[in-house]
Subunit: 168 residues, 2 copies
């Protein structure tokens, strides 16, 4: 049996893009920082994300059935921290970041490298988390920029080498 | 409806760790380069990966029911290319890289940042791909090193800024 600590130490070595996942609808707005996002298939365009069932945001995502994955640019480290801060309410988070709505009503954050606006087509329990399988309804490509990533429990910049040392 | 090209252009902006996923068992050995790997939960330690059902390797992974996710270090770009090269047979790929076996018999590649040796607990069709839900049976942590990532359809180094410009 693998210990949770060993698993986490291992996963700290799997680089992840830093994303803010948002939703809005009958259950209200929620938005949170997450790295667990993965492309599944392009027939039809589909991605997945994993959300902890014990999180405050889980019933909001689950009840709305829509979400937008915003892939953050390197200069949006403050946005990543804002949407991971338990002391900031959901409405406050949204009020502090410029955004627009694409098709589902879930906020697409300004400055993101890309936003994937999605309808949740399947939700499946796996241990402590739910897997959300999402069909992409709209894509907004942002301006070219370095990406914000998480590796070794630290933020890093990727794509523009000149920026790497500033964040590394 | 989102076009496949737009979806792919968007996904090119989602940084992914570069991994080689291996399997060995009754159906023989297979190994391939993949970015679609995601942590799911640590209760119990679980990850997922997506494999194209039309790929040569798919029935081998599916038939063996075990796999090892090897997260590559920045200096293993040649390994990433080897395991993505359709002109190199599966046995040739394995013969060219030092490896050991952990618990399931799937090769753990030397030099990887970390290897997750897994048993497949669920397999689920999603469009062109199958989702493999995998319970982690063993973890091998490698030496500390920069990570190999894929962003903007290029390889990048992450974690040691001094190396970034060499690969960027």
């Amino acid at each position: 049996m693998v210990s949770i600590d060993l698993f986490r130490d291992g996963m700290a070595r799997l680089t992840g893009a830093v994303n803010v996942i948002t939703t809005d609808g009958p259950k209200g707005f929620a938005g949170m920082t997450a790295t667990a996002v993965c492309s599944v298939t392009d027939q039809p365009p589909t991605l997945l994300t994993c959300i902890n069932r014990s999180s405050y945001a889980h019933p909001i995502f689950s009840g709305n059935g829509v979400l937008c994955v915003n892939v953050l640019a390197a200069e949006q480290q403050d946005v990543a921290q804002l949407f991971a801060d338990r002391n900031v309410t959901m409405p406050e988070r949204l009020a502090r970041v410029a955004h627009e709505r694409l098709l589902t009503g879930s906020p697409a954050l300004s400055g993101a490298l890309v936003s994937f606006d999605c309808r949740v087509t399947q939700q499946q329990q796996l241990g402590s988390h739910d897997l959300f399988i999402c069909e992409v309804q709209a894509v907004k490509i942002g301006n070219p920029a370095a990406g914000l990533t998480y590796f070794g429990r630290k933020y890093h910049s990727i794509g523009l080498p000149a920026l790497a040392s500033a964040l590394g």
